[in-house]
Symmetry: C3
């Protein structure tokens, strides 16, 4: 979705909280799989994505970042809650921020989605 948005010249702000934040830890995106409900589909999907030569989630994030129109935020309360340090996060993270900053950005956005 972010990929389509930057291709449309939109400015994208991704705020990672709770489970999302965990995905920002170095090496975590590479391990990411499907939710337990859909575990049986994981292998087929991964194989298919390879056949399609689809970029991996981290490669895709870096591509979107290179557009210059993506800002990535890590949720500070979640970092405390799960005891995650800034050094553990991928270097593409732009800012550490609380919910107030996220809501502020969301209120000025054309589309805000909680995924």
């Amino acid at each position: 979705m972010s990929s389509a948005a930057v291709a449309m010249d939109w400015e994208v702000h991704l705020y990672f909280t709770f489970w999302g934040l965990r995905m920002l830890r170095i090496g975590e995106m590479e391990k990411a799989g499907l939710d337990s409900t859909y575990k049986d589909l994981e292998e087929g999907m991964k194989k298919r994505l390879e056949e399609m030569k689809y970029p991996t989630p981290y490669q895709m994030l870096k591509q979107i970042k290179s557009s210059g129109r993506l800002t990535i935020y890590a949720c500070t309360p979640t970092m405390s809650m799960f005891n995650i340090k800034k050094e553990e996060l991928i270097p593409e993270v732009d800012k550490l921020a609380g919910a107030a900053q996220m809501l502020d950005i969301a209120s000025g956005a054309d589309v805000s989605l909680f995924i």
Copy 2:
């Protein structure tokens, strides 16, 4: 929610992606149940819905569609990813579309929800 929205004379656009898209396959909505976390509640809920003479998900979708105010989109990248063909989808699907078209519609909407 869509049912309430069309009853309010709203125009509804439903974009089905990832798990959502799978629900558009013929026969899939009839099999739909609850997520593994809530599996234990499924039987009670289904029984209760029958007692209430609640329409099934597919019957409800057809009712909303008959209002003429619902457009259903199937996400094309997801179709590739899960190798789903157009012929496998229910006939109520109006358009195959990518994320760009979805974002475009969302940006002009009063309410956009990712469910």
Copy 3:
């Protein structure tokens, strides 16, 4: 998020439906844990939240409510579907409402999120 929002002087409307509604039952929030996918993280998180002297979910809800800027809605169709009576819900619930009322409020809001 609601906590940050009321601190910013925003008016917050929380509409609880489906699983969310179940959380409004007396005693339910105290039992709340993580989704099955993340069950293994639950103990660590709960311990950490205690160390941080973080309020429990229900304490937090009451704090936000005391701001006078939070309105809590319980979804009436869900109440029927799970056979939940008004007396089973926490006293902080302000209104019983259907999806139409929720959509009406969402359409006038700056930010609407489905969580």
